[in-house]
């Protein structure tokens, strides 16, 4: 029986100066790199395939399979790009990982690049996290000096250069093809697929793009074996992941557990909801994953379980809201976010998110009519599946799911001619005993 929490990626975060090479190596760091360089690249891909690791950036695509799509007979250089543009509202796992243990990521980059036979890799990190960028820059510098990066790494004949690249503030660049355009020095707008990045990615060359947590999991798989990894988790969702609890819970924070843990268990570990309050609604994996409610506390948090409950596991960004929170206010704010971040390339998303905001804002003020709910659903229907990328789809998730579970609350805004909630009561610094 696996333990309730299984710190692997987070295990060294409480170590003294955990971000330094000395600290990382004192705990066996870069041992997996030595193991990997003694194997063939195909052995590494097979191990990652056998482990069952699925992408930790939200979509859950099998990582080893993604790597095996790289056409090795393509004469162009191969590239590895790490998506460190963590921006999905609620998602806050990659940033603390890179701050506390950047070498876990750097070691993962080297092993993964070796597997796909890339000699150049990039970490595309969002620009708005200065100290994380400092730690990454330092870790890369230390890795070069130690011979983990550069020419003929540890006498293997394998060369790798790694560049830390700071973005400049655009949620859309978390979409992998928009990230590639951005990394090519352009506006971050998604590309038509096919061709997929594995065939024509960065500079039209074969490219693997993986999330930080996916790549950071690779050293543990190579060091401990595929079977070790797949002994954790559930049948189709193997291994561990970082679950990020935020909002109205007593102890928000990062909890690393096997996939399949429930929110009920996580809230119990986190000391319950804040004093005297109850869970009202939550996101399982960021704002782009449909809202769930207290009736879903026992859903196994793995790709299949959350899917069956009508949402998505996403990035395990568990944002918890109690009964003091107005769901209409919450959804309007997310919708304003999608409108702001829409890249403007496709009409359904560019125009649709604007209209969604207009309609929702009217409802939130208690204006408009009950038919506006049908109008919203119709607008969502014209965006979902008709947008160029998943941003437009994601924009519809909070709206359709909140109308599904909280239609009455929308109508209450109309009946009362405004919001029935006191926003001060939902603040974390609200007076004890304050209520809606």
């Amino acid at each position: 029986m696996t333990d309730v929490l299984t710190p692997v990626l987070t295990d060294n975060w409480d170590a003294d100066r955990s971000w330094t090479l000395a600290s990382y190596e004192s705990r066996g760091g870069y041992g997996a790199l030595k193991t990997a360089l003694g194997k063939t690249p195909d052995d590494i891909i097979t191990a990652v395939k056998d482990s069952g690791l699925r992408g930790r950036g939200g979509a859950g695509f099998p990582t080893g399979m993604k790597w095996s799509f790289i056409p090795q007979d393509n004469p162009n250089p191969k590239y590895l790009v790490v998506n460190a543009d963590e921006s999905e509202p609620g998602t806050c796992k990659d940033i603390p990982l890179m701050m506390a243990s950047p070498h876990t990521l750097v070691e993962g980059v080297i092993i993964s690049s070796y597997a796909i036979r890339a000699n150049k890799a990039f970490i595309y990190v969002r620009g708005e996290v200065l100290h994380v960028i400092r730690r990454l820059q330092r870790a890369v510098q230390e890795a070069y000096l130690a011979g983990h990066l550069g020419q003929n790494i540890h006498g293997s004949g394998y060369d790798l250069d790694l560049v830390v690249h700071a973005g400049a503030g655009a949620y859309i660049c978390g979409e992998e093809t928009a990230l590639l355009d951005s990394l090519e020095g352009r506006r971050g707008q998604p590309r038509l697929r096919p061709p997929f990045p594995a065939v024509a990615g960065l500079y039209a060359s074969p490219t693997v793009i993986n999330n930080v947590e996916s790549i950071a999991s690779v050293p543990s798989i190579i060091g401990n074996g595929a079977q070790w990894f797949s002994s954790m988790g559930t049948e189709k969702s193997k291994g561990f992941g970082i679950f990020s609890l935020s909002g109205h819970v007593a102890k928000p924070g990062q909890y690393e557990a096997p996939l399949g843990i429930t929110l009920r268990k996580l809230i119990e570990l986190a000391g319950g909801m804040r004093n005297g309050h109850q869970l009202k609604f939550w996101t399982p994996g960021g704002s782009s994953t449909p809202l769930l409610t207290a009736e879903h506390l026992d859903v196994p948090l793995d790709f299949e379980g959350v899917g069956e409950a009508g949402s998505m596991l996403g990035t395990r960004a568990l944002q918890l809201f109690d009964e003091t929170t107005c769901v209409v206010r919450a959804v309007l704010r997310w919708t304003e976010f999608y409108k702001h971040e829409s890249c403007g390339k496709c009409t359904p998303c560019r125009e649709g998110t604007w209209w969604l905001t207009q309609t929702l804002a009217r409802l939130e003020k208690g204006q408009g009519s009950a038919e506006d709910l049908d109008l919203l659903l119709d607008q969502c229907d014209n965006i979902l599946g008709r947008s160029f990328c998943a941003l437009g789809d994601g924009a519809t998730s909070p709206i359709t799911s909140s109308i599904q579970y909280f239609r009455e609350e929308y109508l209450a805004h109309l009946e009362q001619g405004g919001c029935p909630f006191d926003p001060a009561a939902s603040a974390v610094f609200a007076r004890e005993g304050a209520n809606a």
Partner: protein
């Protein structure tokens, strides 16, 4: 005006990449560091180095929210007002700061010290409500702590990020984003308290991943 040193550093950024245009985003960060904002001269020099048109550079500079066309104060103060932080108190903090500083969104105080802006989710939701100063984390804020922070910054008092070093100026921060480190990586803790709560519970219960 972009001086010769900055011009050569811009060229140095472009040379890090297999295709030099990839350097444009960090180059624009360096322009902001040197000029205090994106200037016409900065755009022209980037275009010359990359051998693309000024319109192409402008198209990129106007797409990303971190690039500013108007002068930014010494301290860019961002208040997260995405849903979770807003609900947890970010809206109240932002309103208080607007009143206290007498500026609107994306405006700078008359003394040129503070530019106030509401920002989107900055990946620190377990520390809500969150503020950013020059893109350093200021975790678990209240309206009172936010007012004290901006007052201290305007008075020239030294303040530290809750998870990092002494706050540097916006222009100094932009230089790091351009890929020129400032040697402050070793400042601050490994992680803030919220990042460690799950790990502490695992330690208390002796919960571990299985042996290999």
């Amino acid at each position: 005006m972009i001086d010769e040193k900055t011009r050569s550093e811009l060229a140095e950024i472009a040379a890090r990449y297999p295709h030099k245009r990839s350097g444009l985003l960090p180059m624009l960060h360096l322009v902001q560091s040197a000029e205090g904002r994106i200037t016409a001269d900065g755009i022209r020099v980037c275009a010359e180095i990359l051998e693309i048109s000024e319109a192409e550079v402008s198209g990129v500079a106007t797409f990303y929210t971190m690039y500013k066309r108007r002068a930014v104060g010494d301290y860019h103060v961002g208040v997260c007002t995405n849903t979770l932080c807003a609900v947890m108190g970010g809206d109240l903090i932002f309103q208080r700061l607007k009143d206290h500083l007498d500026v609107g969104n994306d405006e700078t105080t008359e003394d040129g010290k503070i530019t106030l802006e509401h920002v989107e989710c900055n990946a620190a939701c377990d520390y809500a409500p969150v503020m950013m100063v020059n893109w350093e984390f200021m975790d678990n804020q209240t309206p009172e702590s936010a007012v004290e922070l901006v007052d201290d910054l305007r008075a020239g008092k030294e303040r530290h990020s809750t998870r990092g070093p002494k706050l540097v100026t916006w222009r100094e921060a932009e230089r790091v984003l351009a890929g020129f480190p400032d040697d402050l990586a070793d400042e601050g803790p490994s992680a803030g308290p919220a990042s460690l709560v799950g790990l502490a519970i695992a330690r208390e219960n002796d919960w571990k991943a299985p042996e290999a």
